[in-house]
Subunit: 605 residues, 2 copies
């Protein structure tokens, strides 16, 4: 992709993302819209995840929804407080990767990077799957086309990002406000309602396969923690806030924590009151909506708003992954290519890779949100644990006032989140978590091998030391010629300008052809020496390469200048320059000469 | 493929094919082995094609096999005589394409080229499908794996050709002699036998769907003509014969005609005597073999020999298509790339394209020979018709003695073969012939558009006229630098050798970084001017391109020199040079400067 399109015309610049320009920085409320949609939208699948685990022990187990949600809200408080501290300690942003690198060493930062990459992919897949489920709740005829809806949504988001979008906090504000209002509406109406709830969806038979016990409760807790995904995004994005950055970011983090906590607890109280249970084709949130608003226009509007916000949440990964890849490239842990995020072809590579991986995941789980939740949460909780542990280390290092209290708080958070991650891995290993267990170490190994390679190259290039001063040598420019035309004249003019000496070489399978060409050359008389090369095997490339190799033996700087006809249309490319390309490839592989190409722009068609 | 592999080490030369070296030219009998396997092996499917058409009118219709074969033998005589004349008139070879180009103009030669390309693909598919059927006749357990056998055979032939093979007439001689002996053995034993024939295969119920009539006879005639495919190959390959070329080639053509005619008539007499009918899983030729030799070792040996010769016939296309593409490239009707047939990467492109097209065809018809026959024969008969018509035109032009007799002979041949082609198209249009009817004009259009393009470019480049003499200008070499290392020194040394003036440019998003780099630069003091460029948008490429554009405004020859780190292992390529590649791509698209790359070969790992 990229290169071909890019070279047709001057590559337009990718629009700025937040934090790259000097204005347009975020207010606290703007930050909520720009950085928290992922976290806020997770109320669409978090409570449902708890219900789906608990129902395995029968509908009576659903009464545990509220206490488990309260425990999750407790963890939310711990996390929000820690992230406010992360913001204060790391005002340059970077989240778990930056914290890990600074306080916990290379291996932990690789772990953080790998789990973040996995999570960016999963955010796209989970949000799209949940969005499709929400839309299908409103329009039941879509129920059998969930995967198709997800892939269409993915295609649209990918296409929009290929074009390069400037996310505007202002544009995201309205969907966010509608979404929050709708959720609060559901909660309030559900609490005050006295008439019987409208029923949507078909009741499913309950197969009791587990007993109520510690394991079930831990599993439900871990599944519900998927509602906490995304709350690290504000800490990652501190540089995008208006000054005073840290203070504004902390305020946003607190707002997010408050909203998320109230929404989660509120929804679980309503779930408790209305005896909601999993029903075919309708999400738990949609059931609550129907119970509160009935099944009129407000039901449709709420479901559509939820779908929209989930799609926007999927979109945030397309903004976030390139930033992370850029950081990794600057640390020599990904190809330096990805450090060129501002160049559109590079940016597009990232977009396409992310979209393909998300598509594979969606197809693999057939767009069922619940099958992605455990994979998703593992990576997020690895990140949480790293951030918390890093803070413990930080407090221990600073010994600031009240450091013990702070270290204990963050230590408790680290233990809780690590427990959640372990429960996820253990309980869901065979049903998909193995993918994450394989992917994270594989990515870590990849990053580390890339880093080793760049380090070795840096040593070999003497990076950081001053090399000898460069001294010029005499130069010889060799120009392969096939016939005499404006192209030949163009190439020889450039060669004469660049070289102390210029030799044209031509290749002929037969001596008569060589003589005929020399004759023409002498008639033209360009004042350039012509060497004719034999090619009994009809190879064009090898006689020239052999000639260049022999010329290389003295101390001159040798350059081979290859003229390139540039057709006006892209599809004519295959018709031109293939011989030059082949020659350049072999020369590059087998000699150390400078390879020069000079474009000759055609006006034909 | 190609490029990557090729650039790891020096590309080895593709071995010579016949006619490219100075020795090893063919004798008459050697020519039979080297150029006629395709034609001779078609007795394995030609008679069967007749039987399959006739049986639609009931088994009694099979008595028409012999008269139809005699008519085909009559056409064979006409074609052999004409091709002897083609050889005399076109001793440089080239077959229908050369004849068409010389005597019948551009459009007809495009038609010939397109049908030849189609036929090279079909030869591979038909020969493999017929070979698999022959092998499955000997080993009935293979009957349900015909497609797999074809694809495995195709993969083997492709792999052998990717390595580059030197076909040796000597190596082909033995299989050919075994094959011809086996067929003659089948005929002689079938004629002299008195004991009842061994029966192999399962009888199939006959559904009478047509009446005996002119249409059926024409269809059977046209289908049987598939046995004539390949007899044009000798005329195409005259330059590969030893002197006196034309005479030896004519002798080979006559030998081929005699052998093929005797085999066809002999087989159809035996078919007539033994009341052979299509049987499930066993070819007609295998039934005849069982009838003549019984089902002992001779049956297996004959079937295996038939399979081997058919596989070798498929292999001839891999030798023939590159030669035709080379001719077309020299006539500006295919990308000039394919004129470089001696370069292994180019040769491999052709091999892979041919293999993929043949694989698609085999999958599309599920490896059933009979479904490919009509497609196959259309192209061949277009070629026959063109050759004959060209000769008529030639005789008319020369008015040599007896020209009227010759013109009438070739005219009759042209009418017969054109009729066969039309019958094929009409009777098989809906069952596959439409593919050929679409592919041939599409290829003609492609060739013609390519030719128009090259013609327009030639005009623009003043090909054939002498341009101005090249005059040197002052030169400026611009070197983008990112840091100071051995790589920088390497690049600057080359730049100083090539340019009258050298400027290093560095790009920085922030002014402090620019100042720090300038400071380092001054410490190193390489005696090269450094220009620092701002990049508020963090783009690396655009500031440099803008700088180069501004520098371009005076009359100097500008070059941009980009150092390229060459890792030792191929898989490290993605880690290096991507920035340079991006810069080169944009510069090439949007400026007219010389782009120089200089390799720096790493020893790391």
């Amino acid at each position: 992709m990229g290169f071909g399109t890019a070279s047709k015309k001057v590559v337009p610049r990718v629009p700025l993302r937040h934090g790259e320009g000097n204005k347009d920085h975020l207010t606290s409320f703007g930050g909520l819209a720009a950085l928290s949609l992922d976290a806020l939208s997770s109320v669409a699948y978090g409570p449902e995840a708890i219900v789906l685990v608990l129902v395995a022990a029968g509908t009576s187990a659903l009464r545990l929804t509220l206490p488990i949600t309260l425990a999750i809200a407790g963890l939310l408080v711990v996390l929000v407080v820690s992230y406010c501290q992360v913001i204060a300690v790391h005002p340059d942003g970077g989240g778990a990767y930056a914290v890990g690198k600074k306080d916990l060493g290379a291996t932990v930062s690789l772990l953080a990077a790998a789990s973040l990459v996995v999570d960016y992919v999963l955010t796209v897949a989970v949000s799209l799957a949940a969005g499709a489920a929400s839309l299908a709740s409103a329009f039941p005829s879509l129920t059998h086309h969930m995967l198709a809806m997800c892939l269409i949504g993915l295609a649209v988001i990918t296409a929009v990002n290929m074009g390069g979008i400037a996310e505007s906090a202002r544009a995201l504000m309205l969907p966010m406000v509608v979404f929050i209002s709708a959720i609060f509406g559901v909660i309030v109406a559900g609490l005050v309602r006295s008439h019987p709830a409208a029923i949507v969806g078909t009741a499913q038979p309950v197969h009791i396969s587990e007993a109520i016990g510690a394991i079930l409760i831990l599993k439900a807790f871990a599944a519900g923690c998927s509602a906490l995904t995304g709350i690290e995004a504000i800490a990652n994005g501190v540089p995008t806030f208006r000054e005073p950055r840290a203070r504004r970011a902390q305020r946003t983090e607190l707002m997010l924590g408050g909203l998320l906590g109230v929404m989660l607890i509120g929804l679980s109280v309503v779930i408790h009151r209305e005896h909601v249970a999993p029903r075919g084709g309708v999400t738990v949130l949609a059931q609550l909506t129907a119970g509160s608003f009935g099944t009129g226009w407000a039901y449709y509007a709420t479901n559509i708003a939820v779908t929209l916000v989930l799609a926007l949440a999927a979109n945030t990964s397309f903004g976030g992954l390139p930033v992370l890849m850029n950081l990794l490239a600057k640390d020599n842990r990904l190809p330096h290519l990805f450090g060129l995020r501002a160049e559109r072809p590079v940016y597009r590579y990232g977009v396409v890779v992310l979209a393909l991986l998300a598509a594979v995941l969606l197809v693999a789980v057939n767009a069922v949100t619940d099958r992605l939740i455990p994979l998703y949460a593992i990576g997020v909780f690895i990140g949480f644990t790293i951030s918390q542990t890093g803070l413990v280390r930080h407090w221990y290092g600073t010994r600031s006032p009240r450091w013990i209290l702070r270290a204990v708080l963050n230590g408790a958070g680290a233990v809780l989140t690590a427990t959640a991650a372990l429960v996820f891995v253990a309980s869901k290993f065979t049903s998909g978590a193995w993918v994450v267990v394989l992917a994270v170490p594989a990515l870590m190994l990849l990053f580390s091998r890339i880093q080793n390679y760049y380090r070795a190259v840096g040593v070999e290039l003497d990076l950081g030391r001053f090399p000898d001063r460069p001294l010029p040598a005499k130069s010889l420019v060799i120009v392969p010629v096939g016939d005499i035309s404006k192209l030949t004249e163009h190439a020889l003019r450039a060669a004469l300008s660049l070289g102390d000496e210029v030799i044209a070489v031509s290749v002929h399978p037969q001596a008569e052809q060589a003589a005929a060409f020399r004759n023409k050359w002498n008639q033209w008389n360009p004042d350039v020496r012509l060497d004719s090369l034999d090619s009994p095997h009809r190879s064009l490339v090898h006689p020239i390469v052999d000639y260049v190799r022999q010329a290389q033996q003295d101390n001159r700087q040798i350059a081979v200048l290859i003229p390139e006809v540039q057709p006006r249309r892209w599809r004519y490319r295959i018709l031109q320059n293939q011989r030059g390309l082949l020659l350049a490839t072999v020369l590059r592989a087998s000699t150390d000469v400078v390879i020069c190409t000079i474009p000759y722009r055609l006006t034909t068609r």
